[in-house]
Amino acid sequence: MTNNSMEANRPDLLLIFRLEGEAFALSVSWVHEILDAQPWAPVPNSGPFAPGLINVRGAVVPVIDIRHRLGLPPARSERTGRMIVFEHVIDCVSHKLAFNADSVEQVIECDLASLEPVPPLGTSWPQECLRGVVRNGDELVILLETETTFAPPTEPFVAA
């Protein structure tokens, strides 16, 4: 995994969304659309990483469980909040993916030069998913490293 494709597209605009009250951010340039939360079709034996599929205007889009990826507790209901649909490039092929956020707040402008690294002791989230911390007013916003956060699990399918 390299970060090159991200570096080439330095995000200046960040979309802020919340999970368990924490503010996370994603580069706006990758975001496709934001939908109301909706039930997804569960994929049997898929494991917790990408448990389901939704229909986004005729396209079948995998739903990624970002809470599980970050080690957060499961959502109380999958029907609340918002669903963020974004573009993710794996091996030069663009994939549309979706994940549930508790809420979507705002788009901020951000100079990525001001990005600070996240001190490993400062969070319990997997370090490889975190790109850095930016300040939005008084609040700290965690910018996610999409490349690693949404990378398909490396272990091949193991029979349940």
Partner: protein, 683 residues
């Protein structure tokens, strides 16, 4: 206009070259006059139209080739292996010329290249050898018709003078004809002088500059005969053309043919009365033009667009049906039913356009086998079966490379040398069988050889060496064989130029997996190896049976479904580990989909059994309910879900929900491995 005509020429030439390859190979097996004629005509067409569409280098090269087959046609040159070798190489060079996209420095360079020179020398060697009794270029035609001997000049190198009147048809220029190239070709024959004939050119105000109004009166002094000149104009068959020889030696009786073409006999101008004895020659251009009116060429991307649009239409149709059910209006229902019938018809028609017989790829393997057996010094024959089986064009395009690879493997690693075979008491000639057939919703393509088979022990050693299995792994022979599909595996002890690069079979497997197919190898030491590919007939739209499992909807491809029966309530409650049901007087094993899919079991009453057939075996799938059947647009699964066994894709239902499509074959195979009967995970 000209670009289009040139494009059409290139397409036609490519088709002819493909045909030629097959014809040469057939000719090697069995010499027949009709094949030789076909070869000659194809060469002649490429030569003639090549010079008209700015492929003169190709045309000049083909000229030598054609000469050789003219001699073959007249029986002066015998068909033997050497000739076929040269012919195939020459054909490949023609493809190279075509690839260069017309005349230019590159084409000239190729014409002057060593390869071309060598082939031309070989061809001239062939024609030269047998030209003792006839003139080098057109000897064939004359030998057939002894009466023509009069028009062969006594001294072959003496110059003859011809006067040619030539005016293209009115719309010929618009159709891409290039008089300049014809004139240039004429100049190649000898010293040429010409006058313009402009009597037909109207006043400037009435002039359409794209009309062919200018004529030429040409005089050529050439050592060649009349045929050479007629050849130059062969494709200007609707032009106003007169050729006469200006010579005291040749009296008027030598048919001063008025070569004004007639629409229904376009080839008459080029065929001398005697030449009509040669079957087929006369009809060529005519056949080509009729074929054109019966079929049209469409780029496959347009077909793909059409298929995409159709996919959307099917989904919209399903939505319409769902709405109609809600509304419950009988007038609307009638319209929706009509719509459904029409969409179905449209779907079938579109799919059938995309279906091609497998033969279209099998054909090119004959060449692969021939070249390879020569390279490796093995005597191999290829037998094919079921070439008429039809598969979606996209599938065909993508299996062609893997098939070539597997055939190479069979010949390189599978088949022994003639000596080894003889020592083993086997027939010295090795055989590779290539066959295709349809079974349910799948196409089976298999490649089989009667060689030495896979060496299970060598595979085990290699797999351990490559860390694919642990040294203690206890695998049976069948499982060891499947390891050849693992990434980074290669058993070739000698790395030959042909295969043994270690990227082979796993690349094949990746391609087949991506198509939603599966691959399986069966091998017996000393007897041979058979690799079977199971491929979906189409990758786009299938007929599916919608079933309910808890709250989820799944689609089972209807092609795999044999029947649906009710689940026996007593059987439903059984928890003994037995999973067999009685259907009429047959015992059928069944799978509980909810358990396989890890859904919480909430046993419902009135469940159904969908009986499917896989690998010739019947099995039941237990579902909560059957919802109905309909067309299903297959959407591929993403990298996150692709490897899950039993799932063949997803689709969007009429109500907008996503449903998963069950891949019955992998589901049942996976269920078997879960029972501990099948191969263990290699890792």
């Amino acid at each position: 206009m000209i670009e289009q005509a040139t494009e059409a020429f290139v397409l036609e030439a490519r088709e002819l070259l493909t045909e030629l390859e097959a014809l040469f190979l057939e000719l090697e097996d069995e010499v027949s006059a009709s094949r030789i004629d076909e070869i000659f005509r194809a060469l002649h067409t490429v030569k003639g139209s090549g010079s008209m569409f700015g492929y003169t280098a190709l045309s000049r090269f083909t000229h030598h080739f054609e000469n050789a087959y003219d001699l073959v046609r007249s029986g002066q040159l015998e068909v033997e292996r050497g000739l076929i070798d040269i012919s195939l190489s020459a054909r490949d060079l023609m493809v190279s010329f075509l690839d260069l996209g017309g005349d230019g420095p590159e084409a000239e360079a190729l014409l002057a290249s060593e390869d071309v020179t060598r082939i031309v020398n070989q061809l001239s060697g062939l024609t030269g050898q047998s030209c003792g009794e006839a003139r080098p270029d057109q000897g064939g035609a004359h030998a057939v018709e002894p009466g023509d001997a009069t028009c062969s000049p006594a001294e072959p190198h003496g110059l003859r003078k011809f006067r040619i009147k030539f005016r293209p048809a009115l719309d010929a220029l618009r159709n891409g004809m290039r008089p300049d190239l014809l004139l240039k070709e004429l100049e190649d024959l000898g010293k040429t002088s010409f006058e313009l004939e402009i009597s037909a050119v109207p006043r400037l105000t009435e002039l359409d500059p794209t009309d062919g109004l200018i004529g030429w009166v040409l005089e050529v002094e050439t050592p060649e005969g009349r045929e050479a000149i007629e050849d130059v104009f062969i494709f200007a068959d609707d032009a106003d053309l007169t050729i006469e020889e200006v010579s005291e030696e040749t009296p008027q009786s030598d048919d001063v043919a008025n070569l004004q073409a007639e629409a229904d006999q376009p080839a008459t101008p080029v065929s001398r009365p005697g030449a009509e004895a040669i079957p087929g020659t006369v009809g060529t251009p005519k056949q080509t033009s009729t074929a054109k009116s019966e079929s049209i060429r469409v780029t496959s991307s347009r077909l793909d667009d059409m298929m995409d649009a159709l996919g959307e239409l099917v989904i919209a149709q399903a939505r319409l049906e769902a709405v109609c059910e809600e509304v419950g209006n009988s007038t609307l229902e009638t319209v929706v039913e009509d719509m459904q019938r029409l969409v179905m018809g449209l779907r079938d028609a579109t799919l059938s356009i995309r279906m091609l017989p497998v033969e279209s790829v099998f054909g090119k393997f004959r060449r692969v086998v021939r070249d390879l057996s020569a390279d490796l010094g093995k005597d191999v024959r290829l037998l094919t079966e079921g070439g008429e089986t039809e598969i979606d064009k996209n599938v065909i395009d993508r299996i062609s490379e893997p098939l070539v690879h597997m055939i190479r493997n069979s010949i390189d690693h599978g088949l022994e040398t003639a000596q080894e075979r003889a020592d083993l008491g086997k027939f010295a000639q090795g055989t590779v069988w290539l066959s295709a057939c349809q079974e349910g919703g799948e196409i089976l393509v298999s490649i089989e050889d009667n060689g030495k088979g896979l060496d299970a022990e060598a595979i085990r050693r290699r797999a351990i060496e490559r860390d694919l299995i642990s040294a203690e792994a206890d695998l049976n022979e069948q499982d060891l064989h499947q390891l050849i599909f693992e990434p980074g595996f290669s058993t070739a002890e000698v790395v030959s130029s042909v295969s043994g690069r270690g990227v082979g079979m796993d690349a094949v497997k990746t391609t087949i997996d991506a198509l939603g197919g599966s691959i399986n190898v069966l091998s017996r030491a000393g007897q041979g190896t058979r690799i079977t590919l199971r491929l979906p007939v189409t990758m786009a739209i299938i007929d599916g049976l919608r079933v309910r499992l808890g709250e989820s909807v799944y689609v089972i491809p209807l092609s795999a479904v044999e029947e649906c029966v009710e689940m026996d309530e007593a059987e439903n409650a059984r928890d003994s580990g037995r999973s067999l049901i009685q259907i009429r007087d047959e015992t059928v094993p069944y799978l509980e989909l909810d358990k396989l899919f890890g859904q919480e079991a909430c046993p419902e009453e009135g469940r159904r059994v969908v009986v499917v057939r896989v690998d010739g075996m019947r099995a039941g799938l237990i579902v909560d309910d059957i919802l109905g059947q309909g067309q299903t647009v297959i959407k591929g699964l993403s990298i996150y879900h692709r490897d899950i066994p039993g799932l063949g894709g997803a689709t969007i239902l009429g109500d907008g929900r996503v449903a998963l499509i069950i891949d019955v074959a992998t589901l049942i195979r996976w269920a078997e491995t879960r029972r501990g009967q099948g191969p263990r995970k290699a890792a």
